[in-house]
Amino acid sequence: MFIKRLPKFTYHTPSTIDEAIELLVRYNGHAKVLAGGTDLLVAMKKRSVIPSHIVNLKTIPGLSGITVTGEGVTIGSLTTVAEIEKSPLIKENFKPLWDAAKVMASPQIRTLATIGGNLVSAVPSADLAPPLMVMAATAHIKGPSGERVCPVDHLFAGPSTTALKPSEILTHITIPLQNGRGIYLKLMRRAALDLAIVGVAVSLTVKEDNICQDAKIGLGAVAPTPIRAYKAEREIIGNMVTEEVAQKVADTASRECAPITDIRATEDYRRSMVRTLTKRAIMNLWEGNR
C-alpha cells in the first residue's frame, strides 16, 4: 500500500497497569497495547492489525528501567533496546542481550523499540529472544486474574503468538546472575537494519578442568518461534570442551532446527549457518575462558 496512513482508533492513556488491563478486558480483543510502536505501527499501516482501541503503556510509570537485585537483574518491559545497548551492567554481566541489542534494527528504531514489544511480537527472528532463553530469563505477566510468571523458553506459542492472553500485559523480565559466559551471533545480509537470517545465542559454564558444567543454546529465525537446541546442549554438558565436541554440537544444532526457505535464505543455507555460528560461538567462549 502506497499511502499507508494509520487506521482510526480511540486512544487511551492509563496511569496504572490495572487500569490498562481493565481497558483490555472492556474492549475484549479490539484493543492493542502500544509500547515503542515499531512493530504495531507497521502492522497497522499494512492493515494486518486494525485495533479500534490503542492503550499506551508508556503513560504508566515504573514499567521501564534496568534494576539490579540480589538474584540478578530486572528489566521493565518498556525498557528500550537503546537503554540496553548503553547499559554497562548488561554489557558486563548479561552479554548475549547486549550483543543482540547492538545489532538490532537501527539507532532510530532502537530509541523506540522495547524489550517487551520484541518478545510479544514473537517473530521467529526476534533478536532479544535467544539471548534471554540462554540466560534462563523469566517473563512476568499481569492479567485480570493476577500475576504469573513464564520462562522465556515457554513464552512463544507459534509465529507471532505468545502464551499471553489478549488481556494480559508483560510487566518485566528477570534474568538470574550468570555463572558462565555467553554470546549472541547474528547473520545478516548487511551490517545493519536487517532481520536475522540466523541468530545463535550460547551460554557456557566451563570448570577449571575444562569440563562443561552447563550449556544453553538458543536459535532464532530457524523455526516457527525462537527455540532452544536441547539435543545439541546435551552433546556438550558433562564433556570436555574441545574443537571436536564443538563441531558435534554444531552439527546436532543444525539438524535439530527447522528452518524454511524464504526470500532471505534457503533452508540449507540456514542449517549450514546454524552449524557455523554455533561452533564459532562455542569456540569463542571457550577460548575466552582459557
Binding site: 499507508k4 496512513r5 494509520l6 487506521p7 482510526k8 482508533f9 480511540t10 486512544y11 502500544l34 515503542g36 510502536g37 515499531t38 505501527l41 507497521v42 499501516k45 479500534s52 490503542i54 499506551n56 508508556k58 537503546a82 534494527a105 537501527s106 539507532p107 532510530q108 528504531i109 530509541t111 523506540l112 551490517a191 545493519a192 537494519l193
Partner: protein, 161 residues
C-alpha cells in the same frame, strides 16, 4: 469515532498546543500540520531514516512515532539547526565535503549525525558509520557523508576552543 486529543509539543524551541487526530504520525504532524517539510518521508515504515528527528535528544524515525506519543516532548528537526543565516557545522561540512547530492537523505543524516556528536564529540569513522546505519543514501556512496561528519566534529571542537 475518532476524537481529537490535546497535544503539547515543543519543536525547535517553539511550543505548540494543538488538537490532533490520534492516528497521525509525528512525521505527518511536522510536515502537514506544522509545515516543517524539511523532514522527509519515504518508506514510511522505519527502514530508510529519511524522517529522522531528535526526540528528547535521541534519534527516532518519526514515521514510527504517533504524534500524540510526542506529548510533552522536545523535538528537533533540520529547521532547528541553523541560527539565522549561520548554518550548523554539520550543514556547512555536508555542503563543503560533498555529503549532500540530491539532498533527500540529508535532513535525516544530519540529525543522526547530530545525535552522535552531541553524545560523542570525537567519533571514529566506525562510530560515524554505526550512527548513520539507519539512514539510506542513494547518491553519495556514504564515504563523503562519513567525511563530512568527521570534518564537522573537527569544526565544532575548533569552535569550542
Amino acid at each position: 469515532m475518532t476524537n481529537l486529543v490535546p497535544l503539547n509539543i515543543t519543536v525547535n524551541g517553539i511550543e505548540y498546543r494543538l488538537y490532533i487526530e490520534p492516528n497521525i504520525t509525528l512525521v505527518d504532524l511536522l510536515r502537514e500540520k506544522l509545515g516543517l517539510t524539511g523532514t522527509k518521508k519515504s518508506c514510511n515504515e522505519g527502514e530508510c531514516g529519511a524522517c529522522t528527528v531528535l526526540m528528547e535528544g535521541r534519534p527516532v524515525a518519526s514515521c514510527m512515532v504517533l504524534a500524540i506519543d510526542a506529548d510533552n516532548k522536545k523535538i528537533i528537526t533540520i529547521e532547528g539547526l541553523a541560527e539565522g543565516e549561520k548554518l550548523h557545522p554539520l550543514q556547512e561540512a555536508f555542503i563543503k565535503y560533498g555529503g549532500i547530492q540530491c539532498g533527500f537523505c540529508t535532513p535525516g543524516m544530519i540529525l543522526s549525525a547530530k545525535a552522535l556528536l552531541d553524545e560523542n564529540p570525537d567519533p571514529t569513522p566506525y562510530e560515524v558509520r554505526r550512527a548513520i546505519s539507519g539512514n539510506l543514501c542513494r547518491c553519495t556512496g556514504y564515504q563523503q557523508i562519513v567525511d563530512s561528519v568527521l570534518k564537522a566534529a573537527d569544526m565544532i571542537k575548533g569552535n569550542q576552543v
